[in-house]
């Protein structure tokens, strides 16, 4: 079976490839066919997305097109399987058909096959070929194995998710800690090296030096994390709360840095916003969960850029990435409140649930009499005050609350107006919220 097909590639819920540890995306081309005549029953891999990473060549079905149901599953070819890349012959013939790249790979030890990448899209073929060569030669996968054996501290937990297993993608905790901003620095270095080829040799040395430094840093970070982990596990009872708190904070901080392979304009080209959108959808899941299903766009901007390290994105890019979600099948959505505040929320998030909590909040004996402010709501609901105010205003527009503006500030009360009888303004029914309020209000005045 293995000889007949390429290994399957895992995708995230929003259709981004799940990367291996330390794997970095380098180039993306659209409308690419992958052909192989040497393998019988080779699946039909037509007009998909070709992703070149430091470790693999991935072919993904293009699910943004309408005929997604019939498309093949995503496949991945580890670059380590490659035995040869054929140079393209410039001839009259090549001018007239789509550019193609041929290479030889051995899927198992006995047999080697020739595959062809046919590029029907507009991407920069030469640049892709150059990157392809470069990544194949760089043998990034070998460095991983070395790092693993050198680090050695991670014991079971680290080796359990070594390269190849691919579980967790760029959320792998090890990966997230290891790569941090170093990947970005490395790539910046690489860029410089490409543009100034006069001091090529020198730059090579710089890069190597940086690589070895990077390894040390990664090992250090891993050691720190392990220490923190073991520390908080074994003697959490002995250490005081303060220490535990700061440890947790530190760990949190370590984990919040680092998207292993940020989508960049350079690697994704025309597909930049589309890919960024997918990556963002994957990324926000955890912060969203923490924030209770809804998070301010500004907060996401900060968190996302911090995670990307050096490859910052502009607010406009973020907005465009978010607005592209409508086209993809992702579990999150962008929402604009009447006030203009924009937030990201889970599609499953329901206002009703929030309203129910707000209603519970404004109907206890104290708040019935005094109302609540946005900050009261923020504290009780565990969300940001700005967010809480949006919720309160939405609840008001639905007729659940009404406002009270006085020198004491801006407060919200449960809406009693519908309960009042216009034919007999003195009438108070023996039951209901108006009755409760009347009793609470008159009791407080007697005190």
């Amino acid at each position: 079976m293995a000889t007949n097909s390429l290994p399957k590639a895992d995708l995230t819920s929003s259709g981004r490839p799940v990367f291996l540890q330390n794997e970095i995306e380098c180039s993306i081309l659209s409308s690419v066919d992958l052909e192989c005549d040497d393998i019988p029953n080779f699946p039909l891999l037509k007009s998909g997305l070709l992703v070149l990473t430091t470790h693999r060549l991935l072919w993904l079905p293009d699910n943004s097109s309408s005929s997604s149901s019939s498309s093949a599953a995503a496949v991945a070819l580890p670059l380590s399987f490659l035995t040869h890349i054929f140079s393209t012959k410039k001839s009259v013939k090549t001018l007239f058909h789509s550019p193609r790249v041929r290479f030889q790979a051995s899927l198992d030890s006995s047999k080697s096959v020739v595959m062809t990448v046919v590029m029907r899209g507009k991407g920069d073929t030469d640049a892709f070929l150059a990157k392809f060569w470069e990544n194949w030669r760089a043998r990034a996968w070998e460095n991983d194995v070395q790092t693993q054996t050198q680090a050695g501290v991670g014991s079971s937990s680290v080796s359990g998710s070594g390269p190849g297993s691919g579980s967790g993608g760029f959320y792998t905790r090890e990966g997230a800690v290891r790569m941090v901003g170093v990947s970005g620095i490395l790539r910046k270095e690489q860029e410089m090296w490409e543009s100034t080829d006069k001091s090529l040799q020198e730059a090579f040395q710089d890069l190597n030096a940086l690589m070895s430094k990077a390894k040390e840093m990664v090992i250090l970070a891993e050691k720190m994390r392990q220490k923190l982990l073991s520390g908080s596990n074994s003697k959490s009872s002995a250490t005081n709360d303060d220490e535990v708190g700061s440890k947790e904070e530190m760990q949190d901080w370590l984990l919040s840095v680092g998207i292993v392979s940020p989508v960049t304009k350079e690697s994704a080209g025309a597909l930049y916003h589309q890919q960024l959108s997918r990556q963002l959808a994957d990324y926000v899941r955890i912060p969203l969960e923490r924030a209770g299903g809804m998070i301010n766009l500004i907060d996401v901007y900060c968190l996302f850029n911090r995670a990307r390290g050096t490859e910052l994105i502009s607010p406009d890019d973020l907005l465009r990435a978010c607005s592209l979600w409508e086209k993809f099948d992702v579990p999150v959505m962008l929402r604009k409140f009447d006030s203009g505040v924009m937030v990201i929320q889970n599609k499953s998030h329901s206002d009703e649930e929030v309203f129910a909590r707000i209603k519970a909040l404004v109907t206890n004996p104290d708040t019935l009499r005094t109302g609540i402010s946005a900050s009261d709501a923020a504290m009780t609901l565990g969300i940001a005050p700005g967010m809480a105010k949006e919720h309160l205003l939405t609840a008001e527009s639905k007729g659940l609350l009404c406002r009270d503006i006085s020198p004491d500030g801006f407060r919200f009360y449960i809406n009693l107006f519908p309960e009042i009888n216009t034919d007999d303004v003195y009438l108070v029914k023996d039951y209901g919220i108006y009755n409760t309020w009347v009793r609470v209000a008159s009791a407080s005045r007697l005190e």
Binding site: G371, E396, S397, G399, C402, R403, D404, I405, S406, P407, R411, Y413, N415, L416, F417, P418, I420, T422, V425, Y426, V428, Y434, W437, V438, A441, S442, R445
Partner: protein, 179 residues
């Protein structure tokens, strides 16, 4: 229950949002309705004919909960009365508002009944006598606002029930009933 003089206030008078103009339409409609009714009720029982927006008006503030209506809210509620024909602005700047807890037509009917009840069908009275004479004591016409009274008399005049003429003294007019 709270009182304002001998006027019984409804419970919601102590509900702070009652004193803030509500922005949501449904809520606001109900709020405006409650204010209109309360203003008319209060003015009728207290015989108040004119509300000055810049003057203190007992109903527009509640010291118990330390809330009072903003100028915008006062104008909104009174304007709602004006649009229903239950009040009239006395000036362009909307600083004084005439409250018609009886419409002008209703006031005319009251005068008609008053004349009949007192057997004044063919007599002559001054306008001032109608407002403060012995006959009107104890009726709704007692100390009625002069502007409203004149309007009601004109309605009756148009129907031929009476004639208004200039009196001997310049400051008062006479009314000749002919019912």
């Amino acid at each position: 229950m709270q009182k304002l003089g001998d006027f019984k206030l409804p419970h919601f008078f102590n509900y702070p949002p009652y004193f803030t103009l509500q922005p949501v339409r449904d809520t606001r409609e109900k709020q405006v309705q409650l204010w209109k009714d309360l203003i008319l009720d209060y003015c009728r029982t207290q015989k108040i004919f004119v509300i000055g927006l810049e003057e203190d008006f007992a109903l527009f503030s509640n010291p118990v909960i330390e809330r009072s209506l903003s100028h915008e809210a006062r104008e909104a509620f009174l304007s709602a009365l004006v649009s229903e024909g239950r009040a009239e602005w006395l000036d362009k700047g909307h600083r004084k508002c005439l409250i018609l807890w009886h419409r002008v037509q209703d006031w005319a009917d009251i005068i008609f009944r008053f004349v009949k009840d007192n057997g004044l069908e063919d007599s002559v009275m001054t306008v001032e006598e109608i407002r403060s004479g012995i006959e009107s004591r104890g009726t709704e016409l007692h100390v009625i606002d002069r502007t409203i009274l004149m309007r009601a008399l004109r309605v009756l005049e148009q129907k031929g029930k009476l004639a208004i003429f200039k009196g001997t003294s310049a400051d008062d007019e006479g009314v000749k009933f002919s019912m």
